[in-house]
C-alpha cells in the first residue's frame, strides 16, 4: 500500500505538471455552467427548483464527459510507460503490478474528483443562488458528483485494461475512443432499435431494463433518476427506472469498477515490457 501511494504521488505530480488537472477542471466547469444557464428557462412549468433542473441536465452531460475524461487519462497508463521504455525499470522494483495500477487509479480518481467537485459544485451554487435549492435538490447534486466519480472509475479501469492489452499508446487511444462510442452512444441506440422492433413485447417488459442497467453509463443515469423523482420527471426516464428494483443501478455502478480493475490487473500481468 505504501508503494501504491508512492506511485499515486508521482502520478499526481505528472497530472499537475502537464496541466491535465487544470484542463479537466476547466472543461467540467465550462460545460456545467453553460448547461445550468441554458437550462434555467423552463423551471416554472415543472414546479421544481432550478438546481433540480440543473442537476438533470448535468447528469446528461456527465454521461458523456466523465467516461471521456477518464479514458483520456487511462489509455496511457501502461502503454505510455511501455512505449517510453520506462516500464521495464518500474517493474524491476518491488511493487506488484496490482499496486502500480492501484496507485495510478488513486491519483487519476483524485484528479477526476477535483474536476467534478469544482465543476458541478460551481454550477450547482450558481443555480441555487439564482433559482433556489431544497434539501432534496442538494442531495441530488451530491449524488451526481459521487456517481460521476464512480462512472469515471469504471472508465479509468477500462482504460487501463485497454492500455495493457494494446500494442502501443496510439492503439490504446483508438480502442478507448471505440469503447467510449460503444458504451455511451451505440449501446443505447441498439437498445432503442430493439425496443422499437419488439414493440412492447416480453423484451421491452422484462429484459430491456436489465440489459440497460448492465451498461455503467445507463446505470449512472438510472441511479440519479430513480433516486430523485423530480429529476426523473424533468429527464423523462421514469419508465425504465420504475421497472427495476432500487438496488440494480447502484450495484451495477459499484460492481463495474471492481470487475474492471481485476480485468486490468489480469491484462497488465501478461504484459512483457
Amino acid at each position: 500500500m505504501r508503494r501504491a501511494f508512492a506511485i499515486a504521488r508521482a502520478e499526481m505530480l505528472i497530472l499537475r505538471r502537464n496541466r491535465w488537472l487544470f484542463m479537466a477542471t476547466l472543461i467540467m466547469l465550462a460545460f456545467a455552467l453553460a448547461l445550468s444557464f441554458a437550462g434555467s428557462a423552463p423551471t416554472g412549468t415543472l414546479g421544481v427548483d432550478m438546481l433540480t433542473v440543473s442537476v438533470a441536465s448535468m447528469t446528461t452531460l456527465s454521461v458523456y464527459l466523465a467516461p471521456l475524461l477518464a479514458l483520456m487519462m487511462g489509455f496511457d497508463a501502461v502503454a505510455g510507460d511501455r512505449d517510453r521504455g520506462s516500464l521495464a525499470l518500474l517493474l524491476a522494483y518491488p511493487a506488484g503490478r496490482g499496486e502500480i495500477l492501484l496507485g495510478k487509479l488513486m491519483a487519476h480518481l483524485a484528479a477526476l474528483a477535483v474536476a467534478m467537485c469544482i465543476g458541478f459544485g460551481a454550477a450547482g451554487a450558481v443555480a441555487a443562488w439564482f433559482g433556489g435549492a431544497g434539501a432534496e435538490s442538494l442531495m441530488a447534486l451530491g449524488r451526481l458528483v459521487l456517481t460521476s466519480i464512480l462512472l469515471g472509475a469504471v472508465f479509468l479501469v477500462l482504460g487501463y485494461a485497454l492500455s495493457a492489452l494494446s500494442s502501443g499508446a496510439t492503439a490504446a487511444a483508438g480502442l478507448s475512443a471505440g469503447v467510449w462510442l460503444v458504451f455511451v452512444v451505440l449501446y443505447d441506440l441498439g437498445l432503442l432499435g430493439a425496443v422499437v422492433m419488439d414493440s412492447g413485447g416480453v423484451f421491452t417488459q422484462k429484459v430491456f431494463p436489465w440489459v440497460m442497467v448492465a451498461n455503467p453509463a445507463d446505470a449512472f443515469r438510472l441511479w440519479n433518476v430513480a433516486a430523485s423523482e423530480s429529476v426523473a420527471l424533468s429527464s423523462g426516464m421514469a419508465g425504465a427506472a420504475s421497472a427495476l428494483p432500487g438496488w440494480a443501478a447502484p450495484l451495477s455502478l459499484l460492481l463495474w469498477p471492481v470487475l474492471g480493475f481485476l480485468l486490468a490487473c489480469a491484462a497488465f500481468r501478461r504484459v512483457e515490457p
Binding site: G85, A88, L90, L91, A92, Y93
Partner: protein
Amino acid sequence: MDNSPLQIRALDKFRGKTQVLHGIDLDIAPGERLALLGHNGAGKSTLIKAVLGLIRHEGGSIRICGAAPGSAAARAATAFLPEAVSFHPALTGHEQLTLFARLAGERADIDGLLERVGLGEAMHRRIGAYSKGMRQRLGLAQVLLGRPKLALLDEPTSGLDPISRQDLYAIINELAEQGAAVLIASHALTEVEARTDRIAILRKGIKVADDTLAGLTSQAGLPVKLRVQASGAHADRIATETGGRRINGASVEILCSPQDKMAELRRIAALGDAVADIDMVPPRLEDLYRHYSGEDRK
C-alpha cells in the same frame, strides 16, 4: 550454494518459434564483475530481462540469492539499469529518484546520490530537458539506491562522455567492493577488458565463452604479434630469415603461437644489430571476441 547472487542453469527462452537463448549456464560470485558480450540480437538484454523476471523462460532455472526471478526477495536484492533508459519527461530527476526510493523502501540520501552522479545542478529540472547522458546518469543513480546484491547493467556506458565513463567504472568498482555481483552487458570491448574480472560471450543465444581474460587468451591460442623494427636497410633480410611480413619500409610483422614465442624472440635476438627495436602485441579482447564469436571464420 543457495546464497550465490546469481545462478543460471540450462536457461532456454523462445520468442515465438525461434529460440533466442540456448541452455545458458551462468554464475556470478559476490564482488565479481562479469562482462557479457555478444553481437546485436545475441540475447544479452533477453537474458537480463529473464533474470529480472520480466519475461518468462521456457526451460532451466534462475536463482537470485536463492529466490526465484520476479519474487519480492529477488527484486529487493537486484538493481537494474535498462539499455537506453528513459523516464517520464514531466518529472524532475529528484522526483523520479524519490519515487524509486519509496518503491524500494529505502531511506536514501537523494540529493547526495544525484550529486554523486553529477546531476547536482539539474536535479530540479524536468527529465524532458535532460540530455541522453544525463538520463543515463539518473539511471545510474537509481542503481545505487539501497545495497544491491546483484546489479544488472545493460550497456551502461552508451551515451556517456569519456570522463563519465570513468566515473561509471569507479561506481561499479564501489558496488563490487560492497559485495555486489555486477553483470555488465556491453559492446565497448576495450573498456570492459581492463575493468571486469570475467568475460562471457553469447553468440546467437549460445554461450560460447566464459572465463577470465587470461583464461580466454590461453584457450584461444591466438598468435602473438611481434613487430620488429629493422635498423638501416635490413628489413628485407629480417623478413626472409624469420618468415615475417614487411609492413612498411623498416618494420616486419611476425605471427607466432604463444608456445613458440620465446624461441622466436631468441632467433630475432641472434640477428644482432639488424634489429633496432621490437614490440610484442598479445591478442586483445577484440581479437578474442572475433575468435569466440566466430567472426574470423570466413
